[in-house]
């Protein structure tokens, strides 16, 4: 086997080198086809359902795509329904607030953990990760009473604080590990040139941590945009509700919201993730280069 050039017999399954190459490119094509079909199909289904008339969607016989007779844009009028519009706006506010808080706090904490000598900091980070052992249900139910006492129940700020705290362990861990990879010598040379620690942080660490910042922001986005459980428990009032529990409640109450309407508003909520996934993927990958706990 220790020949210097690939011979014709040492490929996988006893195949020749050429045959192996061919088999692999075939497998790659098949995999890609499966990913596209399985990955795109649910999104396609939402899209086409949101463009189909209510009557066609609820009658039997699969409607694979809207025909000229069954095509309609009317379903998107659900977005102008005052309740639904409010839910979407609340979701946007909560998500933005969570992203800003998460990035600020985790950046500072990550810098502190990476650059200052503190006893027990490894254990501190692991202690934070312990938080993930608690089910959102376990935390959310007592939080209801605590938030009630603090006057944070039914406020967007209350949900922002809760979601920020939930994103925190992972975001801090990500920042910490990422800042560790930036050579300390760069800051030291700035200090030698007269920069303060703050200036060094602002001008050297922040620009270089950009991938991790974007990754933490995306992570916070995924968490806040996704959240159902906390919003359900902490925002029981209708006018404070975000998208997920709001629309779920509309469906449960048997309010006049048709399946196609639900698909239209779902499609609207899917757009930002689609855009981020396309344009931000390299940052997401860079930020996630974590190897160990």
């Amino acid at each position: 086997m220790s020949t210097d050039t690939p011979s014709d017999t040492d490929g996988i399954f006893g195949l020749g080198y050429r045959a192996e190459e061919k088999l692999f490119s075939r497998l790659k094509q098949i995999s890609a086809a499966i990913f596209v079909v399985v990955g795109v199909f649910p999104i396609y289904w939402m899209l086409q359902a949101s463009l189909t008339t209510r009557e066609r969607a609820s009658s039997s016989g699969i409607s694979w795509f809207p025909t000229p007779e069954t095509f309609t844009l009317e379903n998107y009028e659900v977005l102008t329904n005052p309740d639904v519009a409010l839910y979407v706006i609340n979701s946007i506010v909560v998500t933005l607030g969570t992203i800003i808080l998460v990035v600020l706090i985790s950046l500072i904490a990550g810098y502190g953990l990476a650059r200052f000598n503190m006893p027990q900091k490894e254990n501190f980070a692991r202690f934070l990760l312990l938080g993930y052992l608690f089910s959102p249900i376990v935390l959310g139910v007592p939080l209801y009473l605590i938030w009630q006492n603090l006057g944070l129940l039914n406020t967007r700020l209350g949900l922002i604080i809760a979601l920020t705290a939930i994103s925190m362990p992972f975001a801090v861990w990500l920042m910490w590990k990422y800042i560790q990879t930036i050579p300390e010598a760069m800051e030291e040379s700035a200090w030698v040139a007269g920069a303060s620690r703050w200036q060094g942080f602002r001008d050297i660490i922040i620009p270089q941590t950009q991938p991790a910042i974007i990754a933490a922001a995306l992570f916070a986005f995924a968490l806040a945009w996704n959240d159902f459980t906390f919003a359900q428990i902490l925002l029981p009032a209708n006018e404070a509700s975000t998208f997920a529990p709001g629309v779920f409640r509309l469906i449960q109450r048997g309010y006049d919201i048709a399946r196609v309407d639900v698909m239209a508003v779902s499609m609207a909520m899917t757009l930002p993730p689609l855009i981020f996934a396309y344009f931000m993927q390299s940052y997401l990958l860079k930020g996630f280069q974590i190897r160990s706990l």
Binding site: D4, G11, I12, E20, K28, S31, A32, G39, P42, A49, A57, S59, S60, G61, I62, S63, I105, S106, A109, G112, L113, F116, N117, K121, F124, Y132, L133, F134, S135, P136, I137, V138, V141, P142, I146, A165, M168, V192, A193, G194, A195, S196, R197, L218, W225, F228, A244, V247, R259, V262, S266, T270, P273, L274, A277, Y278, Q281, I290, R291, S292
Partner: protein, 319 residues
Amino acid sequence: MAGETLEPTQTDEPTIPWHRLPVSKETLIGYASVLPVLILYFIIAIGPVAYAVNASLHEVFLLNPQWEWAGLQNYYEVFELETFWGSLWRGIIYMVGSTLIQLGVGLWLALALNKIARGQKFLTAVVFTAYLIPTIVLAFAAGYMFTPNIGLGVLQSLGSDIGLWAGNTAPMTFSQTWAMPLLILVGTWKFGVFITIFALAQLRAIPDRFYEAAQICGANRLQMFRDITLPRIQGVILVAVLLRSIFMFNKFDIIWVLTQGGPGSATTTLPILAYETAFTGGNYGLANALAVVMFLFLGIGAVAYFILFNPSEEVETST
């Protein structure tokens, strides 16, 4: 550089006698930087957990504000509860099944995505969208796809065409056999990508010259995978599997929205049972005892996992 000072100016704050404090200024700033995290953590995790432990030791009913000391009574009740052992078992099936399938799908995705040259950006975007899409949106879409006799019920119809279930059953909400497997599959569509993101980030960091060198030495793809790829992603896989297992064991939203634990109790896992005990049954004390037991089981599991696999061991990363 002649005009610039060569020393950091530390004399701005002459009022604080740093040299006389028992800790250094460095350490203090360090602690100050993690203080917001600590405060948040105490409000959101330690506080509620202490509250839950306290409530689990009392007889608490939601409509009655009076708490009555009960000692360990609630815990005895939990272990005598028939539904507890059933839910624990279903929860373990859901957790292990989901994690294994997600691991398989996630790794396959990562390995293939890493090698596909054409359309890679589009494919990666599709895959990442799955992770970023709100769970509830997925649950709505999946729910409709498995509804019989409507124009949107495409998967229900395909399944009945190949004879998996009858033409008018809703497999997700009315079939004892299918509810759990379908729930696991729907979850995999979204959460398998979590493993892909972790693994792909590592794979992209492996320099091509490793493979080129191996190829020159006559290694085949299996050998390259075993000796170059696998050691580099092993650590991150162990981490991702641990996190996924924990998340799936605690999963509430997707199960609640899709099946609410039904049909019967076919998809009632521990979080669903705890939620129902608290809000349908109104037995808040017992629900909290359940939550604490869940946490203990997970804690024991996580410690065992650490001892067995040691995911904190840093993999050789020099490039």
